[in-house]
Amino acid sequence: MADLSDSVRDYPFRQRHLLGLEEYSRDDILYILEQAKYFREILDRPVPKVPTLRDKTIVNLFYENSTRTRLSFELAQKRMGADVVNFSASSSSTKKGESLKDTIRTISSMKIDMVVVRHESPGVSQFLTRQVEAAIINAGDGAHEHPTQALLDMFTMQQIYPDLTGKKVAIIGDIAFSRVVRSNVLGLKKLGAEVTLCGPKTLMPAYVDSLGADVSWDLEEVLGWCDIAMALRIQLERQGSKVNMIPSLREYHQMFGIRMEHLEKYPDFTVMHPGPVNRGVELQGAVVDSDRSVILNQVTNGVAVRMAILYLLSGGKRE
């Protein structure tokens, strides 16, 4: 290559961390999504692995249970050749009473380049940026944000609609307990999409107006309107011992579950779900398996999008 401009485009991606999509501009998001396309291609190679991050060490700090997000991150890291260490709170010094701050400082003393963190408290990733030099990636903090999930959702939508401007996205279900919603609404609005939230009133958060999305209580109306219907998992574990928010799962399915009859009645919308799906609750089993569902694409795309993020945040020298 003859000069630098061949390999470094003008777009100045200057983010050091990924804490949430709130801090990312429309151009930042579009740039990540565009770069992710090329990482997606690596996954189809005979040797689906590149040595780009082989000098980086990444710790996955999971204070909350997670199978797919952690797997997806770990796979993305290994596909890029990084060294990966996993830390899960259930089998670690947290049980011995170590504070988050001490844990992160200990890990940081081991010369870690990046930290992927999931924690039940909102703002933990923000807190970590002040404690360590490493780049921080938020893999979900309480009900705050889950930016990589939203990015992979938008990437999957772009595979159907390359320009999301004016596209209609419905997010259906457990809005109140969902960080996926917040990140998705923030991201989708920046890309010019229209978002409607739909679910039982008990699962709508008090701050719903501040999200800047429309709200509907009528599933049929929403499905007739939208291009993409994203169902969310009913997070039974988060409802805890408090008052049940829905009378029964069966009634929820009757009111807000997407069923085959909906696919027939409204032939245009595509079904998404961040997983894991409660079959027969948010989605009828046959809907999950139908050709209108892109749920498995979301999983594959998740690895590619996370690779792109790891790559873009791994640059730069620290002083």
Partner: protein
Amino acid sequence: MKTSQIMSAEDLNRTFTRFAHQFLEPYDDPASPAIIGMQTRGVHIGKRILQVIRKEYQAEPDFGVLDVTFYRDDFRSRLKMPEVKITDIPFDLFERDVILVDDVLYTGRTVRAAMDALMDYGRPGSIRFCCMIDRGHRELPVSADYIGMTVPTHQDEEIMVKVKELDGEDAVYLVDRGGTRKTGKSEKNGGADG
């Protein structure tokens, strides 16, 4: 800063034609070798050579596009990560004779990266390398099999290969950054690595 043209559109066309014939010389079947253009200008140079082969031999050799960003060894010293471009090799590399095409051969680091990348796609029978300009100053033990023009350069100088598809013209320029000669070393490290 002084810019002088060292190849015209006509020169480039003649070279494309020469490359086409050189590529196919060892083969009975003109579709035997596969051509892989390296992002960005190498892709367009490769496509031009392919056009000549189509016209003169009525053959359609396999053509691929390679981006070596993932395999580079220099981006760690930069503040911003280089942009990744598409890689598309729509055929099986196993036991194929592959000809890599790039615009400028300089330190040799990009070719090294390209060879690493190709090996991850399969096990080619052979890899040969074609560049439009060989400007010297190798830092690795590699050389080109097909060379458009050998241009002895100073390290402060820059070679600019222009192609119509991207730059609106076909030409090669030698740019002399005389004013920066004293700091030429760092310029070299940050910039060209062909």
